[in-house]
């Protein structure tokens, strides 16, 4: 039945900007401070105070606009969005309405079948965050004003996504771009990235949009996909039953896995937007835009393509490595420090980062930048593996040491005497000894039990504390066992 229907989704994404101070006063934006500690008369909305724009917000918004192919408006204005709520101290939110700073942009998303799709961005505007109302306490509702005035950008997409998967891809791409630009930490759980969706469905072939609903409160990437799927199905079911969809706002309840209607259009707010007379026009000239242009880093889509061509990495590796800018830069820094640079060592570096480092940062929930293993040391470890100084197995032990103490691999190798034993005559002496001591096993091997090679390798490793070069051990073992034939 769903095949008859087409989904239409547009997203409104809010990103908290990583400025040190708030949008219109000099209070810090630190997350997790004591309630109502990052406040001043201005963000408390005391009588008589005035907002003064933090210029860095404009820088960040222009940066995002340029990264998403937007037109940057030379003159944009702030507007007041008026509504009453206890966590909104002024009774209005400073936002932009007419003349937003960025408009008419787009980004490219990649679909399942490896094709790409362009999603239009209607506008990006600057605004201030509201405070937090805390309802789930026994006493009463409490208000924390710390978040009041924290700068946000709102990125409004065109209604061009046709499935929850596409919406998910779009949201991931937005997150990737803002984190690459360093303007937002992209953390949905902490609310520094928030997403509302406008959803409608229509029969395939129809030209007009049907009634849409707005879904809010989807506070994780997983919730976005699930909430959208829920809402799409709900709308289709209504149409199939011959009923209609009401224009309303729904709140996603992640515990019950349902979207609950919050308010209908009839009692929707009239925000009475009008230009904020306390703030002057934001005038952005070509010079300003060009200065920002210079600071745009290589964006994820471009980096991904370059990793494939420049380092001969598989597409999968490139995707994983470029998901986060810090990881991509860690990889590149590792590569830069390799003594032996070739597709094999690049792949080796990729494997180490994807399997070992990403596992650790996921487990420890830390940034790759905070690990004690520096790229220069990882490069040294990889060099040691590729020039045969240590075995891959030993390398893992060394890596564990590096993680704990941040020591250089050479220091650990020397300290623990972990250098791989590659001296053929030395290894041959040990093998001869083992063969002499186990004549019956030698016989069995020679009778055809070829898997007994493992026994001999194990014995060699036992005697050498795992340091013997396994390649050479194998070579000599086979030569000796087979020669006697």
């Amino acid at each position: 039945m769903e095949l008859k229907y087409e989904t239409i989704i547009g997203l409104e994404v809010h990103c908290q900007l990583l400025t040190k101070t708030k949008a219109f006063c000099s209070c810090p934006t630190t997350f997790g401070s004591l309630p109502n500690s990052n406040v001043c008369p201005i963000c408390l909305g005391m009588p008589g105070v005035l907002p003064v724009l933090n210029k860095q917000i404009v820088d960040f918004t222009i940066l995002m606009g340029l990264a998403t192919n937007c037109t940057i408006s030379n003159k944009s204005i702030f507007a007041r969005k008026n509504y009453f709520y206890p966590d909104l101290p002024k009774g209005y939110q400073i936002s932009q309405f007419e003349n937003p700073i960025c408009s008419k942009g787009f980004i490219e998303i990649e679909l399942e079948n490896n094709s790409t799709k362009i999603i239009g961005i209607t506008r990006i505007h600057m605004e201030e965050d509201a405070g937090k109302s805390i309802h789930d306490l026994d006493i009463d509702t409490l208000v924390d004003v710390n978040r009041c005035g924290v700068p946000l950008i709102e990125i409004v997409s065109e209604p061009e996504m046709r499935s929850s998967k596409e919406a998910f891809k779009y949201l991931s791409a937005i997150k990737q771009i803002v984190t690459y630009l360093g303007i937002c930490d992209g953390n949905m759980e902490e609310g520094s990235l928030r997403c509302d969706a406008n959803v409608s469905v229509r029969k395939i072939g129809e030209n007009n949009f049907r009634t849409k609903t707005e879904v809010k409160n989807m506070n994780s990437f997983r919730n976005v996909e699930r909430a959208l799927e829920f809402e799409i199905e709900r709308q289709i079911n209504l149409y199939e039953k011959g009923e209609s969809v009401i224009h309303q706002t729904l709140l996603w309840d992640a515990n019950k896995n349902v979207a609950i209607p919050m308010r209908s259009k009839e009692d929707a707010h009239d925000y009475r937007y009008f230009p904020d007379p306390d703030l002057v026009k934001v005038e952005v000239d070509e010079k300003w835009i060009n200065e920002i242009k210079k600071t745009i880093p290589e964006l994820p889509s471009k980096k991904l393509k370059r990793f494939i061509t420049e380092f001969s990495l598989p597409k999968y590796d490139s995707e994983v490595l470029t998901t986060e800018r810090d990881v991509a830069e860690y990889f590149e820094e590792t590569i830069k420090n390799l003594n032996l640079k070739n597709p094999e060592t690049f792949k080796l570096a990729s494997n180490w980062i994807m399997t070992e480092l990403l596992r650790v940062i996921k487990e420890e929930k830390v940034s790759i930048r905070l690990l004690k293993v520096l790229p220069i040391n990882l490069a040294e470890l990889i060099d040691a593996i590729s020039n045969g100084k240590i075995s891959g197995k030993i390398a893992k032990d060394i890596f564990a040491e590096m993680l704990l103490r941040g020591e250089k691999p050479d220091v650990i190798i020397n300290k623990k005497g972990l250098i791989q034993l590659s001296d053929e005559s030395e290894i041959e002496k040990i093998i001869t000894k083992i063969l002499d001591e186990n004549p019956e096993v030698v016989v069995k091997f020679r009778e055809g039990k070829k898997q007994l090679i493992g026994f001999f390798v194990g014995e060699v490793m036992k005697l050498t504390s795992g340091k013997a070069n396994p390649k050479i051990v194998n070579q000599i073992l086979l030569k000796k066992l087979n020669n006697a034939n």
Binding site: P47, V49, N82, V143
Partner: protein
């Protein structure tokens, strides 16, 4: 020393400080005057002990030759301007017990200049009104004739200067709230160019109109106060980064080569003939000083009042949203839900005129009406600004009446808001255009009530207004 005649800062400076003329003595006399005419109801709060302490301190400073720009200048401040640690009521029940956390920029500057702030003055609630009758602590009387209104909204600030409660005062002017009461009380009131004086710490009524300005007995004192409070403020994005001149230096009596425009729309039949007569005399006098006069036209004058009331109420409806009972100010005790708290706190806390303007402003901004009202009024505002800019290509300033009548009776217009609004007909266009203007005394009518005339200047040219005002005053003496 000054129980009858008005005392100026020049008088203070020309005396050698001794026990009789110490700052302490002056402050004590002002405090006594306030006590003697308590019925004027000019103050929301008088800082008795603090003023005396500051006066003693100033006397010490002066003895050690440590004179600042306003040392010993006793000033009253409209209770809509924030002073740290002091009540800030805006003459409203909703802020009856509210204490401010910080100093407004103008207050900081006055304190730095060693002025003595003697108290906070009564006004129309949130500066909304033209008679001083919309105050939660009761109306202010006109010291010249106690049966009359002092004008508004800076009623107490005008009355304080007129009644010799202080040497000068700060008022605020959104549509004439300095100039009209100055006219009604027979003193000088200056509304600076929009952006000349920082609004940081001024409780907003209509943000794109409000300006803080001085009241004084004469234009030299008004100039002194302006010079201290004016200038760019990083805390106010709309304050202009334009140097503040030394006004007194240029008040040299030379009016030759000045050309003043007389806008014909301001001299129609609705103007009281006595006021008209007074203006004609003033014109003759200024001509004798070498000033040339020319009739000019401001064609969009008739749209001034509607545009003003649409735009100011729109801004007010948003500016006054913060008084919701949630965080500070009056909170209704009879509320069970959040919405009830908002509605009841505001219904109980605001007076009728404030409610009227919030409703009007909410209406003109609501969806479906925005274009017809707010947007159109913005266009009219631009046309009115252009009228003035065109006229100022040919003249240095304009001369008009301050108000269509002299001070009216208490209670005379309280039943009819529209008639009350029309008492600002000559003053509001100045705020729409953001221009500076001054009201100066120009004799009295047959009932012995002061007549005010208004001079309107080019943007940031308060200088010319002060210079002309100064010459006119010398003629009076």
């Amino acid at each position: 020393m000054h129980s009858v005649s008005s005392y100026s800062y020049d008088d203070f400076l020309n005396q050698t400080p001794d026990n009789n003329n110490s700052v302490l003595n002056i402050v004590e006399k002002y405090l006594k005057n306030i006590e003697l005419r308590k019925n004027i109801n000019a103050f929301t709060e008088v800082y008795n002990e603090e003023s005396i302490a500051n006066a003693k301190k100033t006397d010490q400073e002066l003895k050690s030759n440590n004179k600042k720009k306003l040392s010993g200048f006793v000033i009253a401040v409209k209770d809509i301007i924030s002073i740290e640690g002091k009540k800030l009521t805006c003459a409203s029940k909703i802020l009856k017990d509210f204490t401010s956390l910080y100093d407004a920029t103008v207050i900081k500057k006055l304190k730095d200049a060693d002025a003595i702030i003697i108290g906070k003055t009564n006004c129309d609630e949130f500066a909304m009104g033209s008679s001083g009758e919309n105050s939660s602590i009761g109306k202010t009387l006109n010291p010249v004739n106690e049966a009359k209104v002092p004008g508004g909204s800076s009623s107490g600030s005008a009355a304080a200067v007129a009644a010799n409660f202080s040497m000068g005062s700060l008022g605020t002017d959104t549509g004439g709230s300095i100039r009209q009461p100055a006219g009604f009380c027979g003193i000088v009131g200056l509304k600076p160019t929009y952006g000349r004086v920082s609004r940081y710490g001024l409780v907003a009524f209509a943000s794109s109109f409000d300006q803080i300005g001085p009241f004084a007995n004469n234009s030299r004192d008004a100039a002194r106060i302006l010079e201290v409070i004016a200038g760019h403020d990083p805390l106010d994005s709309t304050s202009a980064n334009i140097p503040v001149p030394n006004y007194l230096e240029k008040m040299n009596g030379d009016l030759k080569n000045l050309k003043i425009g007389l806008p014909k729309e301001y001299f129609d039949d609705s103007l009281n003939p006595e006021i008209k007569k007074s203006i004609e005399l003033k014109i003759e006098f200024l001509k004798s000083k070498g000033v040339k006069f020319v009739e000019v036209s401001l064609p969009h004058t008739e749209y001034t009042i509607p545009a003003y009331y649409i735009l100011t109420t729109a801004e007010a409806s948003s500016n006054l949203a913060r008084y919701d009972g949630a965080r500070y100010g009056h909170r209704s005790k009879n509320s069970n839900t959040m919405e009830e708290m908002f509605v009841n706190s505001r219904s109980e806390g605001f007076g009728n005129e404030v409610k009227r303007r919030i409703m009007l402003g909410t209406y003109v901004l609501s969806s479906g009406y925005y274009d017809a009202y707010y947007k159109k009024a913005q266009k009219v505002r631009r046309l009115i600004q252009k009228d003035f800019l065109d006229v100022f290509k040919n003249v240095d300033c304009l001369l008009t009446p301050t108000s269509p009548t002299t001070a009216f009776n208490l209670g005379e217009k309280t039943k009819n808001p529209l008639e009350m609004y029309l008492s600002d007909i000559y003053t509001v266009s100045v705020n729409l255009a953001g221009l500076p203007a001054i009201s100066i005394p120009s004799g009295k009518d047959k009932n012995n009530l002061p007549i005010g005339i208004q001079l309107i200047g080019k943007h940031f040219d308060e200088q010319t207004l002060l210079k002309i005002a100064d010459v006119c005053e010398n003629n009076l003496n």
